[in-house]
Amino acid sequence: MFGVYVHVPFCAHRCDYCDFATWTDRAHLIDEYVDACVEDLQRRVANGQPDAASVFFGGGTPSLLEADKLVRILDAIPRTAGAEVTVECNPDSVDAAKFAAYRRGGVTRLSFGVQSMRPHVLAALGRTHDPANVQRAVALARDAGFAHVSIDLIYGTPGETMDDWRATLDSAIALGVDHISAYALTVEPATPLGLAVAAGERPAPDDDDQADKYAFADDTLSAAGFEWYEVSNWALPGHECRHNRCYWDGSEYVGIGAAAHGFTGGRRWWNTRTPERYIARIADGPDAVTGDEVLAPAARVEEAFGLALRTRSGATVGRAAAPVIGQLASAGLLTVEEDRIVLTRPGRLLASDLTARLLLAGAPG
């Protein structure tokens, strides 16, 4: 499966926790930026880029683009029949006309950054929308005929109680979406949140609280018919996000736009980070790649193992780590299914530790 990721590095407002490559003061660059993305794609297609089975517009806030601009980029991407095309949306920057144009243009799936349904939690995250906007946005999406709608949630924000989290999950389920991503709030150093935590002005999230909330989410979502298929992702059966899968299963993808990453021909590469430089690099040709790495076979095996272990399919293992695997299985952290191991819920919460431990024990098979 081949995928295309398009990065849209513009937001109306910077959320306190976010360290993604995105800017709130560069809307004037949008037209040139869209042109550059189209140019980048055309060159790649001319060089034999295969048809994409999945396209993902991520951000930043892709929904900030006027629909025709986003569709211009999408038109430049040759796709397979039935390709998945996702657009990340901010509930504040959508309307019926935009969704209708997305549909006509070939978008099949929308993903909303919701984070929380509790106003005080949204305020603590520095988000601008209110829960009512979310209901409205999801309703508009459904009215426009989108069968696949996902939402992103963040749990474990200091100040969020278990009741707040329950309310958020209940409302999220009540929205009738088919896919939910739930991320533990991560404090990134170079963000307003990170600085405030470092200065002792705001509390850091608590690991135990986040672990409790993860367990609660897994229970609640399972009861509502969702199944986990990656540490932070749940979907109704058959509604998993294809694009996500392609990152985890080692498929190839190209990255279009500032700071986008690609993986082709065994090489991981990434574009220059700012929109200005991206535009300038594309104008100079041939591409905007600023760094890359070709992994040694051993590193590739380890990377693939680490990614696979985060998924419901699990990772294949050899004999070498049998004792360690046995210990972790009897501690209830993973289950062994023939030559694969799959993390249990407590195990998923410890995925980083377990991956390192298993790699040091020579687990990949």
């Binding site: 990721y5 991320y183 991560t186």
Partner: protein, 594 residues
């Protein structure tokens, strides 16, 4: 070869930080040995660790030429742990420059090092340094020096090693006052090795002072104590750049490379003579006696052989380190090492890690105990884990030291309080001047090697200094405190302490470990026990979350780098049973009062 009457051999000695290395800089400049372009502060402090810490660790010698004289200069360290470096430097000299910081006055190592020079019958040229400082009180300090050391105020030079003021006059005084070396070029050769280090390309490089006869390049040399002959591959002088010469005659100081690869064949204190016309050995050195011991273990068991090689090489460089293989239930195979003091221990450990690329775990430092068994036999124990059960011993004796504390009068009270807490007995108190007091205490060495020095410095805002020397063994009411991780005793954290302090030690150690040991996949109980009875208990709760939860789109590279870091982190943990203990825990656990 230089005529004897045109040679001077001297060391610069002082308390730590009184400006020895800075004075050496000025002398290198004044004599044109180092050009202004190549100059850098504390030029002779060449080890990374010296430059980082701003202190001299190893004595360094250099040959200067000035007004037709050859001046062999040795810059020595001032820290109490490195007194041995001073004493062996002195054996290569006829005189010393004694520096005293004009703002601080006499401090503990001023006295200790000055007394050493007097014992060697060396000529002392004393100078007040840092007279450029606004806080300098040259008259008052001069009076103090006259009263305490008996050096007349009018003989004192006043200098600033920083600005260079008075340095030329000091050098003239050195030439005038310090006697020329004596020696007979026609007598059988006698040269003293006063320093040796291992160079991976050249083998052993030794610093030598010739007393009689001459060292000639290419000659067959005999190493008297080692009873070995070697060819002099290269002899030379440090200008300070190593520069080969054909001959080194009496009174001359230089270096010698003789193709020696094996550790222990070119020891400090060795006499080198001519194999065809051998002479007897010069008076060597007493091997310095280690005062503090700890276990050193590789984090990864596979590195054991590398650690042994590294210790072997390091010991040639620093013969004051001792090491013996030992096995620890928790830590595996390692070495019990002896050091001159805590700073020395810290530095050796850091050098081993850096220069030999090893990751090490050090156990809590301890002293040597004498255990008297029921049958009257006496056993010396340098490792708490070899302490027999109390019901098998009639007495445990611990080493005591005579501690000299020099302090401004304002801090006498707090220092007496500290010394009493550490089971000290006041022996003497004397006013050196109206504002400076000398306190002499008899203290258990074991109380000094924990954090006495840090406490003394913080209680006196850095104004007090100390020196100590061994004062024999005495019986004390000592017990062993065991520390258990996940119900397994970990010798690295156990200690022998006075019975009255056992509970306190156990409580502090378990609390500290609870802070330092990261949460694991399961609960980890931490206990302290005395004779099987638990006296303190803490628990590190199992960790429940350690996962990257955020979405990074296609940026797999970042995920993988985090994973690499996590793996590296795990690799640097010491596995004790099923518990992962970070190296820092071993170091920080030594500082219980912070």
């Amino acid at each position: 070869m230089t005529a004897l009457d045109h040679i001077r051999c001297l060391s610069i000695i002082a308390h730590i930080d009184h400006g020895k290395s800075t004075l050496a800089d000025r002398l290198l400049e004044l004599t044109g040995a180092v050009s202004a372009r190549d100059m850098r502060a504390q030029y002779l402090d060449s080890m990374d660790l010296e430059r980082e810490r701003g202190i001299t660790i190893k004595a360094q010698n250099v040959r200067l030429e000035y007004k037709g004289f050859v001046i062999n200069l040795i810059d020595t360290p001032g820290h109490v742990d490195f007194g041995y470096e001073v004493s062996r430097s002195l054996a290569a000299c006829e005189g010393v420059i004694l520096l005293v910081d004009a703002s601080q006055g006499i401090e503990a190592q001023t006295l200790a090092n000055c007394y050493q020079a007097m014992e060697h019958d060396l000529t002392i040229v004393a100078a007040l340094n840092k007279i450029d400082l606004p806080a300098a009180e040259p008259e008052r300090r001069a009076a103090e020096i006259e009263r305490v050391l008996g050096i007349p105020a009018e003989e004192l030079l006043h200098i600033s090693a920083k600005t260079g003021e008075g340095v030329a006059e000091l050098l003239d005084a050195v030439i005038e006052r310090i006697p020329a070396p004596k020696g007979d070029v026609d007598a059988p050769t006698q040269a003293l090795i006063f320093d040796s280090y291992y160079d991976p390309y050249r083998g052993v490089v030794s610093a030598v002072r010739v007393f009689n006869g001459a060292l000639r390049s290419g000659a067959k040399l005999r190493y008297v104590q080692a009873r070995q002959d070697h060819d002099a591959e290269e002899i030379g002088v440090r200008l300070p750049v190593p520069t080969p010469v054909a001959t080194l005659g009496p009174g001359e100081v230089g270096y010698l490379v003789a193709g020696i690869k094996e550790v222990g064949q070119a020891k400090v204190g060795e006499t080198v003579t001519d194999a065809n016309r051998p002479a007897s050995a010069l008076e060597g050195y007493r091997d310095p006696k280690p005062m503090v011991f700890c276990g050193l273990y590789p984090v990864e068991g596979d590195d054991y052989a590398d650690l042994r090689d590294a210790l072997e090489k390091l010991r040639l460089n620093d013969s004051s380190v001792t090491y013996d293989p030992e096995t620890s239930g928790a830590l595996g195979f390692g070495f019990r090492c002896g050091f001159l003091g805590l700073l020395h221990m810290e530095i050796v450990r850091e050098r081993l890690e850096r220069e030999y690329d090893l990751a090490l775990v050090a156990t809590a430092p301890n002293v040597e105990y004498r255990v008297v068994r029921l049958d009257g036999s006496v056993e010396v124990i340098d490792n708490p884990s070899s302490m027999p059960p109390l019901n098998e011993v009639t007495a445990i004796e611990e080493p005591y030291v005579t501690v000299i504390l020099l302090t401004p009068t304002d801090y006498v009270g707090t220092l007496m309080e500290l010394s009493q807490q550490r089971r000290g007995v006041l022996d003497k108190m004397e006013y050196l001047s109206e504002d400076r007091v000398e306190l002499v205490y008899l203290l258990p060495l074991g109380e000094i090697v924990t954090d006495f020095f840090d406490q003394m410095k913080s209680r006196t805002r850095g104004y007090a200094s100390l020196d100590y020397e061994p004062a024999g063994y005495r019986a004390s009411d000592l017990v062993k405190v065991d520390v258990l991780l996940n119900n397994t005793p970990v010798d690295a954290f156990s200690a022998i302490v006075h019975r009255d302090k056992a509970y306190d030690y156990g409580r502090k150690m378990t609390q500290k470990l609870r802070e330092l040991i990261p949460r694991q996949l399961f609960d980890v109980p931490i206990q302290a026990a005395v004779g099987g009875r638990i006296v303190a208990r803490e628990t590190v709760k199992a960790k429940r979350k350690d996962v990257l939860a955020k979405c990074y789109g296609g940026d797999i590279t970042r995920k993988r780098k985090l994973l690499e870091r996590q793996k590296e982190g795990k690799r640097r943990m010491k596995q004790i049973g099923s518990v992962e203990v970070p190296q820092e825990a071993f170091v920080a656990a030594l500082r219980l009062d912070e």
